[in-house]
């Protein structure tokens, strides 16, 4: 913690960055904050009270029609500013994937990479609990397997089918999984289209409502698990995305969030020509 603060301080003092986006503790709760003064840094924190990382905190959702991340908005308001960002492994993956899709400019940001502890990595069922650019903390190795995924795969196909049917029937259509997702930024979200999903219906149409999102971000998902954490009825969304990511890896030898230069498979046509988003 102190290491992060002192690094942040030196970055601000040396004008390496104009501001640092990180988490701040206030009123007993932890939320994103843009630190512009070194004397604010004592409230900078990397931990949340309940042992959960408040990741992907650079998302914003004024409305789905204008869902731009905070770094994009900062660049719009301050084109010359350089922003430091305290990033865990998942944050870094999200930043890379967003940059790949023209949602932010990596040249305008400086990552202050922080590794997660073993306990944090377990809590998040994280596949890679450290950023590639590591400034603070020690790498702990990823979880080699996931209990929930294994338990699911042990079931027969009909059992898995009824498992998902039940889980999805709990959905209260809050769109929280989409809203919180750092990679869900389409202006015309297909989940809202009457063409695919009957609007105004509870439970949401099964399984179309969910399938649309799952397929749509299959090659974007960076496995942060924020969708599952945002679900009011505990639908195990991280489990399905772990499986989807495995499929994408096997089918296309692709992993979202690793390398900004790696072309996303669903952005390319069959003859490998990149499509514009």
């Amino acid at each position: 913690m102190e290491e992060v603060r002192s690094l942040a301080k030196s970055w601000l003092e040396s004008r390496k960055v104009d501001a640092i986006l990180g988490l701040r503790e206030k009123n007993g709760h932890i939320a994103p904050h843009l630190f512009t003064e070194t004397n604010e840094l004592e409230s900078l924190t990397i931990l949340s009270h309940i042992g959960e990382i408040n990741s992907k905190y650079f998302s914003s959702n004024r409305s789905q029609r204008y869902k731009k991340n905070v770094l994009f908005l900062l660049e719009q308001n301050y084109p010359n500013a350089k922003i430091g960002i305290v990033a865990r492994g998942c944050d870094e993956r999200a930043l890379i994937e967003l940059a790949k899709r023209d949602q932010l400019n990596l040249e305008k940001i400086e990552i202050l990479g922080v590794a997660c502890t073993k306990e944090e990595a377990m809590n998040c069922r994280c596949p890679k609990p450290y950023p590639t650019k590591l400034d603070v903390g020690k790498r702990v190795e990823k979880n080699s397997s996931d209990m929930n995924v294994e338990a699911l795969l042990k079931k027969s196909l009909p059992e898995r089918f009824s498992f998902w049917k039940y889980e999805l029937s709990k959905c209260i259509k809050c769109y929280g999984c989409r809203n919180v997702c750092p990679l869900c930024f389409c202006e015309d979200c297909e989940m809202e289209q009457d063409l695919w999903v009957k609007v105004g219906q509870l439970p949401s149409e099964i399984p179309t409502f969910h399938f649309i999102r799952w397929y749509h971000i299959a090659d974007r998902c960076i496995e942060c698990g924020e969708c599952e954490k945002a679900c009011p009825v505990d639908i195990p969304l991280l489990t399905i995305f772990k499986l989807l990511r495995t499929d994408i890896k096997e089918l296309f030898d692709y992993e979202a969030g690793l390398d900004v230069k790696q072309e996303a498979p669903l952005l390319t046509t069959l003859d490998e020509t990149p499509l514009k988003e």
């Binding site: 501001a19 007993g28 512009t36 789905q64 029609r65 209260i172 769109y175 509870l202 679900c231």
Partner: protein, 686 residues
Amino acid sequence: MMKYENVLTTCPYCGAGCNFYLQVLDGELIGMLPCKSHVVSQGKLCIKGWNAHEFVYSKDRLTKPLIKRDGAFVAISWGEALDIIVTKFKEYVKKYGPDSIGVLSSAKCTNEENYLMMKFTRGVLGTNNVDHCARLCHASTVVGLVASFGSGAMTNSIGELENSDCILVTGSNTTEQHPLVVRYIMRAKEKVSKLIVVDPRAIPLTRFADFHLRQRPGTDVAWINGFMNVIINEGLEDRKFIEERTEGFEEMAKTVRKYTPGYVENVTGIPKEDLIEAARTYAKADRASIVYSMGITQHTTGVNNVRSCANLAMLTGNVGKPSTGVNPLRGQVNVQGACDLGALPNVYCGYQSVTDEKIREKFEKAWKTKLSAKLGLTVVEMINEAYDGNIKMMYIMGENPMLSDPDINHVREGLKNLEFLVVQDIFLTETAQIADIVLPAASFAEKEGTFTATDRRVQMVRKAIEPIGESRPDWQIICDLSRRMGSREFEYSSPADVMDEIASLTPIYRGIVYERIKETGLQWPCPSRDHPGTPFLHKGSFSKGKGNFAALEFKESAELPDEVYPLILTTGRIMFHFHTGTMTRRTEILNREVPTGYVEINPIDAEKIDVAEGEPVLVQSRRGEINIKALITERVPEGVIFIPFHFAECAANVLTNPALDPVAKIPELKVAAVRIRTRPLSPNKD
């Protein structure tokens, strides 16, 4: 200088009291983030909460005071507007006395604002004519639970539901009206809990219920007496609890003797086998919770329904322990607080009676003024008195009776009959449209204060951005008006000052100061600065000492279906909209989900009426008629139709019955006799 921060605040919609962060970049609201460490919302929200920031920047926001001249609104300055209002107040007080003025406070406003509004009404105007929409939703809860337990609030906390062994949900479509409360019901269900739903409609929760008992609307006392009949017959009552902690058991037991499962089946339509099994399940649970809402309260027998729920809980010893209790879910974010702070015609803050001389003296001393001992008028009574010409002027803050109250045609006539109407709101609501002066108020994102959630949890509302246009926070408007009326008792530097005064006068809030409202808020009763707050009530003994059983006979609703009006209309709310739609209908995604109203009709009735899905129909009651499209569904049983009340263009409350519960004065919004006519699109009369 670039500035980006996140301001933690309380969601302005339902009484669950979820918290979230408003994201502010350079003074502009750019979005919101859920709060993972909040005790109820835990980083999750419903669709309304996720979009609660959108209406703040709506182009329809009121930005200037308006006055109606020659039938059209024109903008005037704050000074002019307030001076005209003050002149009118003084004129009517002088000419007709203070009781010629009626005030509606607001469950959408903060505790501090409700306190100031009732202090203004009582201390400056000199009348007890102050009420708010709690009258329409949980007036029967406040009265009924006080009579049974001594305190009119939810006994336990939302999160405790997760550890219940049995949850009985009745008259609450929890999934749609309190989505973050249903989280805990679903978690309980996925552990061990049994779930009993008693509701005429199939609601989202019934898909997960062990029992779905579909009573005929308005027969709640009968089925609850039936439950108690079964429990007593089978010796499943908690003898020790009854003897040590309650009074009136024998008389109650005598009354329920005739409510045998067979008798109850005849009255309610609930098959007797189901009733017996469900009653056993509830009684045998170690920790059983009752969750209810307006399906219980909005009846002419609302108080009896509430007291029946209390009876059932006491009979089985399910009060005063964690994960049990009688849990009314309050609909508006601060309807609990508006009641707590005395925006009611019979009590000051903290439910202290205006007719109690000692209490009145306390407030007279604190406010340095003489106070009226005469009980004030309730919401529906004010409208009636306006209609009759006895109320001359009304001051309405953040309420929309033109859509929320029963028998809207009558409401319109009443309000139009006023000599002067002032409405203070964030939008030009249906009610504001008929006002003489409209004052623009700041929204939740633009002011500071506290809200009290349904589980008595006092939480912070924090200012994220400056008020839009010339709009001002309600508390400042009330203080300004009071000063112009000549009062010196409204000098506050901030809402925190107001809370200090509230604490000094309100025993249940005595220990509440802003600095103490931190991670989890503070749950009242909080009688001192070092008191940690109270997660569940009635531990060891009831607030009133012993709990009171009530011996209650079933009574029919005021208006029953007959040959002319053969169907029962029941009204309610849906997931995607909130109350009169003032905020949700200005939110894009919610409108996209459900753009307008509909009437749910059972397929058997639809065939009799000869109407198909999506066709327009005319729904008529003795009070009015509306055009609305049909939705054919088995969600409603045969003989019952359902209409959500959010939509002005097909307002359910044109049809509803203003008959009142004799004690709580709550109208019977859940049962009215109606008929359906199929017709072409044009809304011409019969």
